[in-house]
Symmetry: D2
């Protein structure tokens, strides 16, 4: 055993000392690959968004030209990642994550849009930071607007409810108590790409969270990664994805208006 531990210690030390040594080389080009990051490198807790008590706004009904994605009765507009039926629970006008059944996605893909979605944390959540009531709304299946129980629950500021996950902290924290419904009104403008797959026009997003502005035409810089920097990869229209992060978060009153 001793030998092994020594070896491990040696490896750790060399990693610390030789930094770039840890960088792998791309066998195709011979160039170094970027050293891998760790998740805590993109976690900034200070400052925390100021807490705002929202008004009672909730339940904004769908306008006549909206596509209703969930009216409380069924998951017909949704499917699992593998194309099979969505397996979340539908009850009392809400859909709820069933842990382990995976994310669900709309069958329809979208470009730019206005999205209304309501979500609720269960009352007796335990855990803290990202471990409390975690879910997410992915725009075009890629860019996550974080869902989290951010009521009296500090976390890194671009990881709380209303954040563009690990990119943009919300301008305020108007999260309601667990057990109460929250509302996102999201205006999303899809990206346009160069031929080489980089952004010509970045995606942008405005978010009203319980009627409070938390993202003000924020530029999205790429995918919303837990570990590492945003990645840029070209894509066309994509679904709305709701995340199974193993917490029984509920959603309801989901509608979308396409911006063509």
């Amino acid at each position: 055993m001793k030998k092994i531990l020594v070896t491990l210690a040696f490896l750790a030390a060399s990693a610390a000392v030789f930094g770039q040594d840890k960088t792998k080389v791309d066998p195709e080009t011979g160039f170094p690959l970027p050293q891998e990051m760790e998740h805590a490198m993109t976690e900034f807790w200070n400052p925390q968004p100021k807490v705002v008590e929202p008004g009672e706004y909730v339940g904004n009904p769908a306008p006549s030209d909206a596509i209703v994605l969930f009216d409380g009765t069924n998951l017909d507009a949704w499917q699992s990642y593998d194309g099979s039926d969505a397996k979340w629970e539908v009850k009392n006008g809400a859909m709820t994550v069933v842990k382990g059944t995976g994310d669900i996605r709309t069958k329809q893909n979208f470009g730019s849009f206005q999205l209304h979605i309501e979500w609720r944390e269960p009352r007796n959540l335990k855990g803290s930071s990202q471990e409390r009531g975690n879910s997410g709304v992915f725009l075009q299946g890629i860019y996550e607007v974080q869902v989290l129980d951010s009521y009296n629950n500090p976390t890194y500021n671009s990881g709380g409810a209303g954040s563009i996950y690990k990119q943009s902290a919300p301008m305020a924290n108007p999260t309601r108590k667990p057990g109460e419904w929250n509302v996102y009104d999201i205006i999303y403008n899809a990206p346009v790409f160069h031929e080489d797959g980089t952004y010509r026009v970045y995606p942008t997003v405005t978010v009203l969270f319980n009627g409070v502005l938390v993202q003000n035409n924020t530029r999205i810089n790429g995918t919303t990664e837990w570990i590492g920097l945003p990645e840029v990869r070209p894509h066309g229209d994509g679904p709305i994805i709701l995340q199974d992060h193993e917490n029984p978060v509920s959603f309801r009153n989901i509608w979308i208006r396409e911006i063509k």
Copy 2:
């Protein structure tokens, strides 16, 4: 009389034929001044914004950090243009234009902000186009988001409810029937100026009208003139102004959150 009419006809003809003749010269520089426009030159009726029936959204209450500009009881936050007390009527939780008393403006000035404001047209309005239920919400006292009874009332498309007056038609027309309350949720980002008074950063505005997106981070090109082109003049913070356009339009539930 005949002679007079002839003279008038001659003048009209010469104006038509010699165009530039009507252009005055700037006595200071000797340069021509731009020929004056007429209001109908900036009135484009086609296409009409598509009619959308909004959901029942109304009455979004003020978040805890909002400045309440009108809670239904008094005009304490407002004044007339000359600094005297605002003279509009306050009754049943609403304020209503009293024809001829003039525009009213907030005592406080604002830069960028999120504004919530509700408005209602009287039930028995007559007239058509701009002559029906005309009022307006002026951002920083300068840039008008039009208020009009646009329910079954066509007008030029950048003159209807939800337009940036004579600059940007709304993306949809979700106006409710006269007698019902309408809602504007406005996100406004103030301009930044060059030293010469031109825009370095143009003002932009997003408008949700009865919960329906009608302005999507629209650039404002200058003042919102009835006659002629937008004008650019430097300014600092300014008030919210509500317009007395001689129609008894009502307002209520007005609150604003500053974006510093």
Copy 3:
């Protein structure tokens, strides 16, 4: 006299009331059409761009990845509007407008690009304002960067050399004397359209004029009309067009780098 004045007053009043009378009606919709403008309505002479004496920069040669549109020897990359051969004169390494032969356009169409082009006014030009050495470079065949002898030749400020014609005055006037070569380095980013033909992303343009910045990522608002407001119409890639405005303006050293 009194009677006359009364009559005049009456006419003035009726003009005010019936203003829209001059507006024609769209037979299809029954809606008024916008009243037609006159050219002098969009001509603003004050202020004049400040005169800057440029450095001697001229003749920037093509980088290896540029498409050479004119190397001084032939018009092979160009054609007339009707598809026939371009009929301008090629002599001494320059091409020169042959009055009445019409605009010429590149055979190839372009999206976004970096364009280098040099132009020269003849020495003994007569006339003033727009009547002196007028030509133009049309980006994507639609948006004109004005070419004019602006050396000691005032005109409306968005009509001089380096302007986006009738939209954006140049930030400075570094025009060289007639007989000397001028240089435009233009960075143009093409628009993206909504399905309804309006801009989703406006075209933008940066212009260095004889090495002096005169357009700083300027948004183009639509077509560059002599009479009336910019028009927005959807389009794809388009040619570079050089204008035959009946003045013998010369061009040389034209190359373009595509931004894909």
Copy 4:
């Protein structure tokens, strides 16, 4: 062996669970501080910018309204960081880094501007990647446009000549051979800040490198750090800073035009 594997698995698991352990805690707030990054985490070698052979453009002289920062004769416009005289060598119309004398900065501060600057690598440079001919031009003293001998010298793509250091790779690589002069024409628009010190308007930059567009109105996301993510801190006008990176890089023909 089995035991060993178990141990390794345990270590891996604890790393996953306690990952944040490496993160220090902010003594003031009790919140975790972000884990520190290593420089190789922001180094992306693939793809390399395409090599373009530029035209012969060099030496664009100053327009009449430019502030000449270096005309080849003296360092009067410059100083060391501590306010003492700049100690770089002036010879044959160029200034050259004297290793160890430190960066030099303009005495004057600037907001937005157009900057022309020429730079040259010595002929017999050794080393590779960032170790060859490294220097930099800092806009407002903060945002680095990289200077490097990128002629046949691969490095991470946002670290080569023409890059916004560690933020934005150049669109092309037109670097000339060591011993030849290179040219940057830079159009920089300064940021505007929110009260909390975040960007309201991000800085943007366009760079022509030997006449080739390499930055196309690129948004700058914050400081250009060697290690870690860009940082956002509020600032006013600032100097042009030229970097002493211990390599004898030369500069000449430096002029700037303010954009007020």
